[in-house]
Structure formats: C-alpha cells, structure tokens
Amino acid sequence: MHGFHATPVEASLFGVLAIASLLLAFVMLGSRWLRHYLIAFAAESWAIALLSAAVGYIDHYPELYVIALLTLAFRGTLLPYLLLRIIRRLTIERELEPLLRPGSSLVLGAGAVVFSLVVAARMTQALHLAAEVVVLALTVMLSMKLIGYLMLAVRHEAVSHVLGLLVLENGIFLGTQILVPGMPMLLELVILFDLLIVVVCFGVLVRYLVGQVGSTSALQLRRLVG
C-alpha cells in the first residue's frame, strides 16, 4: 500500500525518476534560453509519466497507465508544443535582463532542496513512516514547488512565468503519484484538462500583451501601483 512497502530495487527506481525530475527543474532554473526551459520541462513531464507507469506496475494501479499516457500526451507533448508556438511568434529567445544570474538562482534552488529535505524528514518522523521513498517524494514535491516560485520571482518573461506555473503543478503531480497513487483518477484527468485551458488562456493574454503593452516582460508591467 502507498508504495511504502516497495522493495529496495523498486524504491530506487522511483527515486531515480523523482531525482531526474528535480534535476530537470534545476536545468530550467539554470538556463537562460527559453527553448531550453521548454525542452527541460517536456523531459521532466516524460520522467513523471514514466514514474506514473512504474508506480502503476509495481503497486498494481492499472489506471495509472492511463494517467501516464495522458501525461505524455498533454504535459510532455501538447503543452510544450503550444508554448513553442508562443515563443516562435514572440521572436524572444532568452531572458534579456535576468534579475538573478543563473548561478545565484541555482544556489537558492539548492537551499530550497535542503529546506524541503528537513521539512520532509520531520514530517515522516512525526508520522512514524520509515520509508525513504516517502521522504524523497515529499522532498522533491516541496522543492519543485519552491523552485517554481523562485522561477516566477526571478524571471520576468511571460513564457517563463507560464513555465514556472507548470513546474509548480508538476511537483504536486509527481508527489501525488508516490504518496497517494490510489487518488481517484477523475481528479487527475480534470487537472490535466484544466492545465490545457490555462495554457491556452495564457496564449491569448500573451497576444494581448504584445499588442497593447508592446512587451512580454513583467518589468514593463508597472502602471498599477498603490
């Protein structure tokens, strides 16, 4: 149950996939080129899809195969494609004036991981769960959350913001697969669908931004204060 009683081999498989996703979040954090973000995000979604399938196979949740396929289709393919179209239309290649150099953001990101690890270790202690998979899942979930917020805070290109939001959601999705694999499928389906709508909305808004504000950088959004 809960994947807590996985054998060491299975647990390390989960661990490898979770850590791979976390590393890809760092790739996004350390890169300046929008296209690299996008590739890293797509790869991260693929890793999460693999994780879903692995959990489904090992813990006997056949519905997770469906989730894995949909994750591949939506998060791994369709959303990156839609964002790629936005990037192409914008002719913006990279963050022009990053608020923090990639190196500094990476250091902050590392701090976020350490903090998440401490929180996760405390939580599992309080719950009397000895499974390392749980600590790992909580750590990755919380640190991807923090890294997503970091991306939202230090980047100001519209597309980076959208990707930051998607990283936030990816973190939750990843944690969900390990912690509560039995969560009713309906929810995950609706969340996938919801993401698609959100990204389409962002696409429309980005077009407005280009048309009316003349820029997609949040640094230009400073008319409304006080």
């Binding site: 997503g148 939202l152 509560v180 931004l209």
Partner: protein, 506 residues
Amino acid sequence: MTGIATSVLIGAPALAVLAMLAAPRPRLAERLNLAAAGLCFIAAVAMTVSAPAAGARYLGRYLIVDPLGAWIILCAAVVYLLASIHACGYMRMPGEEARLPRFYQFFALFALTIFIAPLMNNPGLYWIAIEMTTVVSTFLVAFEQVAEAIEAGWKYIIIVSAGITLALLGTVIFYWAGTFSLGPTYDMTWRVLRHAAPHMDRALLVLGFLLVLVGYGTKVGLAPMHTWLPDAHSEGPAPVSAMLSGALLNAAMAGIVRYLAVLHRAGLFMLPDQILAVFGTASLLVAALFIVRQRGVKRLMAYSSVEHMGIVALGFGFGGPFGVAGAMYHMLNHSLNKSLMFFGAGNAMRSFGTRSMTRIRDYARHFPVAAALWLAGAVAITGAPPFGLFASELTILRAGFRGAGLWAAIVMLVLLILIFIGFLDHFRVMYFEPAGDDAPRPARLGAWTVAPMWLALIPLLVLGLWWPRAMWRDFQTVEQVIERPAAAPAPAARASARMPDARRAS
C-alpha cells in the same frame, strides 16, 4: 425543490451562454443574461430556504447543497442580478456595441463557475471550479483591452494561479492524511474528510490547512496575498468588479471554511482560529493603510474588499454562534454594499471620464440622486448604523470579545475606526471640495445604472434594522457543522471545548 433550484441555477446561465453563442446580437445577449440572472436569483432563494441541514446530494454525490453553500450562492446570485442590471446601462458605451455579446458570454459563464464552486462535494473538484473562475474572469478583467487592463489581467492570472497551486498541494495532503484510516483509494468528500478527521495525523492536518489557507486565501484576497486584487478589481468594467468582489471572494472563502470544519472536527481549534485571525487583522491593516492614501476611486473600493474579507475571516476565526453568524451575515451585506459602491464608482468614472478621485468634484451637485445613494453606501460600508454591516460587524466583535481572539477584536475595532475616517474623507473631498472653473461638465447617467443602486441600498437598510429569525437559524445550522468537535454532541461540552483545547492539542 432543492433539486429543481439546483438545475435552474446551473441550467439558466449555461443555456444563456449557448444561446448567445448561437445568436451573437448585443441586445439579445443583454436580455438573455438578465433573464438568466433573474432565474438564478429565484433559484438561489429557493435553494437557501429549502437546503436540508445535512446537505442534499446530486449527480452521484458530486454536488452538494448545504446551508453554507446555498448561502454563498445566494450572495453570488444577488450580485449577479444587480450587476446584470447595471451592465445594461454601463456597457452600452459607444464603440463597444460589437463586443457586447462576447462580454455577456463571459459574464454569464463567470457567474456559472462561481455558482458551481460551492456546490462541489469533492474538495479536488472544488479546487478546479475555483481555478475555472480565475480563467474566465481574467478575460473580463482584461475586457477593455487597454494596457492597464491587460496588465491587471496578467497579474491576476499569474498570482492567483501560482497561489492556488498551494491549495492543490493542501488538498493532496488532506487526501494523504485520510489514506491512513480509509485505505489508499476512497471517495474524498467534505463529509468523509470531517468524519475521518479525528483519526488523521495532526501534523498533516495543520500542514494541509496552512497550504489551503494560503492558497484559497490568495483568491479571497487576504493580506499579504492580496496584491492582485486592487489591480483586477479596479481595471475591469464596474459590473465585473462587483462580481469579483461580492460573489467570487465569498466562493473562495467557502473552501477555507469547509477545511476549517475538518480541523475543528479533529479537535484543533486554537491554532487554525488564531491563524485565521492573524490573516484577518493583516488584511484590515493593509486595507486601512492603502485606503487612507488612496487616489483611484475603484482602487479605494478594492481595498475595502480586502478589509471586508478580513472581517469575514475574523468572524470565522472567532467562531462560536456569534462569530459564524456574523461572518455569514457580513458576506451578504458586503455583497450588496460592495455592488452598490462599485456601481457608484463606475458611474462616477464614466461621467467624469477619470479614475482619479482628485478629478471628481461636486458630485452631489451634478447627480443629486445617484450621489445620495452612493454616499449612503459609503456610510454603510464603513460600518455605520443603521445599515446591515453595522449589525454584522457588531456581532463579529461580540464573538471576538468573549474568546481567545480578544487581541484581534481590539485591533479590528481600532482599524475599523481608522478606515471609517479615511474612507469617508475621500467622499468629503469628492462631494464638497469646490471644482475649478475649467472643470468639464460630466456626462449624464442612465436609469439602468442608478436603479441597481436603489435595489442594493434598500435591502441593506432593511437588513440593518431587522435580522430575520430564519436567517439566524440557518446560520446556527452552519455553525453546528463548522464548530462541532467529534466527540462532544452536547452544547455544554461544545462551549468548553473551545477554550482549553490548546492544552489538549499538545
């Protein structure tokens, strides 16, 4: 009757949207929207009257109609009706005619998403419904398509979507906490969570509640997560601002209250109540500071929304019969009053052609009736008698003075006085400071834009003078659900459970 009311409530706006898509003509869209709003209002009243205390479930338990949800829907339906009437006058400005069908499609859809959220019986689906309200209303905020409106829309969707992912994480944590007693796969509903709460781990419950509170608190506009609110509320058209403020914020508050009930059922009172009180007083403080130095007329109203959501949060945080009843009464009063204020602000903006209060002068001389209504609304929203908000704020304060939230009640009282002075001073300037000689003559106001101000003010006055007993009973049923700890059915035990639980919890 509850079933019929629910289907009308969902069906009317949905059909209106479809009809508008089929025949996109401005006048027709206006009428369809108005008809849908009228039907929704009737359905919401019927729903509030007939909702059973334990909640009626529909569509295989995905929908629930309980007194709390019905009440929040009633508040939303009132605002939807008033805003639809106001929109008939406000949105008919030259040059916008061709885009009116699009506006009303989104407007009705927005109302629909707000109605759906409190009906959701599954916390996960509730999350999605709240996310949908954001997506739909972003386009309404950005509707005027000037740079400011788009900036507001962008900030709105980014900040709220980012914030609300925390609520999703909180939802997952609550589900996880339930798996320890209910097994890996179970049907998560509000009631299942409440029943499982005593068996859940306290650390997980508290973590989940904090995440949910910050997540939905972003949407409610509790400080310090309120930063999107003044922009979105001030840049959308006035009817949209009224809907955002009077209807949407309450719908997001519903989630916080339902999770609060889960924590109370687990015997956790002190911690969540105090945290709510902290967020509530922070909202009041931020609102007070920005109200005093405000220059934009709609931003003034927006910060007032932050203030009133803080008061509602304080009411639920103080708890007890008075706290819950005061908070719920305050929701309706605020919905009526804030609609009135946004209509007045929108009218002033349209007729003077400016958002800045420094350029609105001699308002009462130009528009005696509309100005009197708006001024009465301003007096009401600062909590002065004899209007409804006075009654509800006094009730919340009474709840605060008798419990562990005494400090918050005192802070609330001081800040309310500060806001009273600051808010009304802006009105003194707009009404009584003389205009320069070169001041342009303001444009005229139509009947459609003034009528809903009457319709909001009269009930507000009635609710201030007379608190219907049926409403009080309704609030007490909600209070039973929110405040009851698991193993204490008798009223005496309930009263004693509130105070010493800090020691029990540790």
